[in-house]
Amino acid sequence: MFAAAAAIIPLILHLMQKRRTVRMPFSTLRFLKAAQKRSSNRIRMENFLLWLLRTLLMIAIAAAFAVPVIRTVNLGRLMGQAHRDVVIIMDVSYSMGYETGQRRVWESTRQTALAILRGLQKGDRASVILAGDRPTTLIEKPSADLAMVQTLIESLAPRPESSHLDEALPEALNALKESGNREREIYVLTDGQALPWAGFDSTNRADHTVAGPWDPARVDKDIAFFALLAGSRSPENCRPVDVTLSPSLLMTNTLATLNARIARTGPASDLAVTLFIDNAEVGRRTPLLDANGIQTVAFPLPPLTPGIHAARVTTPADGLAVDDAFHLLIRIREQLPTLCVGDEQDTLFLMTALTAGQQGKAGGVATLNADALKETSLRDYSSIFLVNALPLAGQTMLDLEQYVKNGGTLTLFPGDNATPAAYRDWSILPAKPDSVTEVPQGGRVRPLRLLLTQDPLFSGFALPPGATPTLAIRRALHWPNLETNSVMVIEAGSDLPFLASRYFGKGRVLLCAVSADRRWSTLPMTSFFLPMLHQIVQFGAGLAKEPLYVWTTPTMILSDSLPDLTENDQILMPDGRLLTVRPVRQGSDILMEAEGVEEPGIYTLSRNGDPASPVLAVNIERKESALEPIEGSALGALTGLPGFRVALDGEDLQQQINEYRRGRPLTETLFWLALLLAIAEGWLANRICRNRSTLVATVKVQESGRIRSPASP
């Protein structure tokens, strides 16, 4: 700042100029004196302004070379000399894997995190929190072992998860609670998509927020917040977001269609969507996808052999490759294993209906007495019908309860063998019948009303237009009310219950009010009987226990979809690694739980040296795929932290960090100021010395010396 003394240069020059004045003879001074008298005030003011501008110019230049800084916050602190605690929140959602050309979001984010660490001094401490579906605190309290933190960051990779920064930020605040008088900084390194920030908006807050509602008022004002929005500002991404099969239950030779929903982020475009089954391309469509739109693409399935087929729907490779393929398992069944429990006489109509069209063959339908039920493996059947089979042994009831809990469909038809008391002790029933009602002669004919037409039980069920199934009921079970999670599916008339349903575990229990023979009603004789049974069988075969695909998850109970899985079985991940599967106790049950089902693709089961068969299709949930950039200027209002410093790349962030820690360099500002002052000085000086019109021109002196003034001719 010694150079600021240059400010007196204009004054010195002014004084030296006076001493070096040149003497010049002039014809007369009378006009000069008069002119000086006339304009002395103006000249004095102009000279003062010139002196002022030149002095300020010299000061600005000298100050610019001195590289001064202004501490943007905390002027009272000693210019960043205090030790600091920093928490780095790293967005590990899979959208961080976005890459286009030279832009690799994850790599640049990681390098930025390492650069932040390198910028710390000895004695500074750092902590790292991963923002995923749940925040993961890698280092609970800031650690002074920066090398360890660096190693930790270098080993990180994006996960197949979404991120919730509204949960990670409170974790970071917790980590800084015991920082005392240290300077505290929180860095949020993310790709700049809107979704991770959506939780800060109270209207979008996720229900599973563990850290409680975000309250910016509780944030210490001394904490500095930085955000790196490293992602593309105009991302493009195309991905399959969901697939369905129609019909959902596929038998051999079933004509089926696979519907894939394709979503597009970016401008409208036509992209090839391909369906592979067993690694062979079986279909390709090129739909025109609207800008940021979603469209369903249908693929007719070719004839497939019975068994499980691994399939995937793919879109062309783009910046976010991880969501370009959607995996699923297509299960083709040869038959629907169904068990009818009851006497031959009781199950006559039922068996006739279930084996209709099979030329007298039983197909997958088996029948046995209630006594033999305890020796039968229930898991081999997708549907079980109990026809006048109550009362049952206690163990048998427990087995059936477990069967339903695991996803089985149990349908009960009453009969004369059981009294209402036999039903009351069974907790899985949708209702507890209290009596058997004898319907009066005049009120026996009843129309059946489907109360839940949208129930999955009736998926694909269609009666002829205008047809109303009607039956005559002589006797029926009566129950006063329904149990929890139970619904009335069909009513006979307006006051008589006919079919009640209850979801229990992963399965469903159906209780019919009349028997499956002609003794209680004319149900077996109606045209409604056969389709109703087929709907129940199909529903039971396809009920949720064998999904087309599952989402990636840190842990998954495999016993649901693979009930016969043992510890000796090996499940291979798509990349060939062995999936960690271990038994866990859940209540009284021992279940097989897989850890780290986070690799999208087809998981295969290898058992006793047999060829591996696909057992799971795992996909990443597509929440993060809708890449919608958030504006940096919106973060302040969104988080309630107006001082949020936002950068779009690592260099910018580093500059902001430097400005925060050391202050904002004023060199550039001062040079701009000097330039403005120089321009002002030049303008003013030029205004003083500008070329004026001469008097000869002003008064119009002609060549002959005549003055052509307005008064002259």
């Binding site: 040149v22 002039f26 014809s27 007369t28 002119a35 008097l695 002196v701 003055i707």
Partner: protein
């Protein structure tokens, strides 16, 4: 190298040749002693008819208008406008301020050359030219004659003087006005850095005596505009007084002052029908003289 004297010192042969065909007309009647091309207040012999008057015995019978006599039987004499030569007095200021020149030529040198050009034109018209040089007082006064040797003498006299001392224009002009009795053309060549009201009074003196007056207000370009020099300590060439000033800052105000000063002469001169001209010494002399004489001749018709 031989030092040039007289007209050769002020006008080159080319300039003299270009001036040879020009004339300086008086706008009023003048009183000369020779026949010439200028109107005289007297009646005399010329081709230009003036009027008739009744014949008186003693008149020359050859001047009788016989045609009138034949028609009216009355005797009338035809009278004609007398024409005489022009006497021009050049009054040149040689005060100290006339020694200023921002270029190669001082105002005094320019005034001498202007006087030489005017004198040359006058002699070419067979008119007479006289000279008066003044500063604080009348330094030299030469009568009007119509010979080139006389012009040479006048110019040698001008050559001998150097611009110096104070100005006292009005007394000098009054003295000249008293000395010149017969109607003549007075040509004043000066920067007029004096008290304008007094000078105007002196000019009015000339007009009162029916002289035709031309004022060549001789000014240097720097004096007119003050726009091309840097800041300096200015020294008054007449009084020796000094003043530190930055002409760039003063130019506007200075031009207003000098304009007011010129207007103090232009306005009274216009009222007195005096031919007032501003002479910029930065312009070529022959161009100015020719332009001026052409315009004067045109306006005299």
């Amino acid at each position: 190298m031989v030092k040039k004297e007289g007209i050769a010192a002020f006008l080159s042969p080319q300039e003299r040749q270009s001036l040879a065909r020009l004339t300086l007309q008086s706008r009023y009647v003048v009183e000369g002693n020779l026949a010439g091309r200028h109107r005289s207040p007297n009646r005399g012999a010329s081709t230009e008819f003036a009027d008739h008057r009744a014949y008186f015995p003693g008149d020359d019978p050859k001047r009788l208008d016989w045609k009138v006599l034949a028609r009216t039987d009355r005797y009338f004499i035809r009278r004609y406008q007398d024409e005489t030569n022009l006497r021009v007095y050049l009054i040149v200021d040689r005060s100290g301020s006339m020694g200023y020149g921002s270029g190669n030529v001082t105002k005094y040198q320019y005034a001498c050359r202007l006087a030489a050009a005017i004198g040359y034109v006058i002699l070419n018209s067979r008119d007479s030219v006289g000279l008066c040089v003044y500063s604080k007082t009348v330094d030299a006064s030469l009568g009007a004659r119509n010979s080139f040797s006389h012009l040479n003498n006048l110019l040698k006299t001008l050559q001998q003087f150097k611009p110096e001392s104070d100005t006292s224009t009005a007394p000098a002009l009054h003295r000249v006005a008293e000395d010149v009795h017969r109607r003549a053309l007075i040509v004043l060549i000066s920067d007029l850095f004096d008290d304008p009201p007094e000078v105007v009074k002196a000019l009015a003196h000339f007009r009162k005596q029916h002289h035709d007056v031309i004022v060549f207000h001789t000014l240097d370009p720097m004096e007119l505009d003050l726009s091309t020099c840097k800041g300096a300590e200015f020294e008054d060439m007449e009084t020796g007084e000094t003043l530190i000033a930055d002409p760039r800052a003063l130019a506007d105000a200075y031009q207003k002052e000098i304009n007011d000063f010129i207007e103090q002469y232009r306005q009274p001169c216009a009222e007195m029908n005096i031919d007032y001209r501003v002479v910029n010494t930065g312009h070529p002399l022959d161009t100015f003289v020719r332009a001026y004489l052409e315009e004067r001749r045109r306006l005299s018709r």
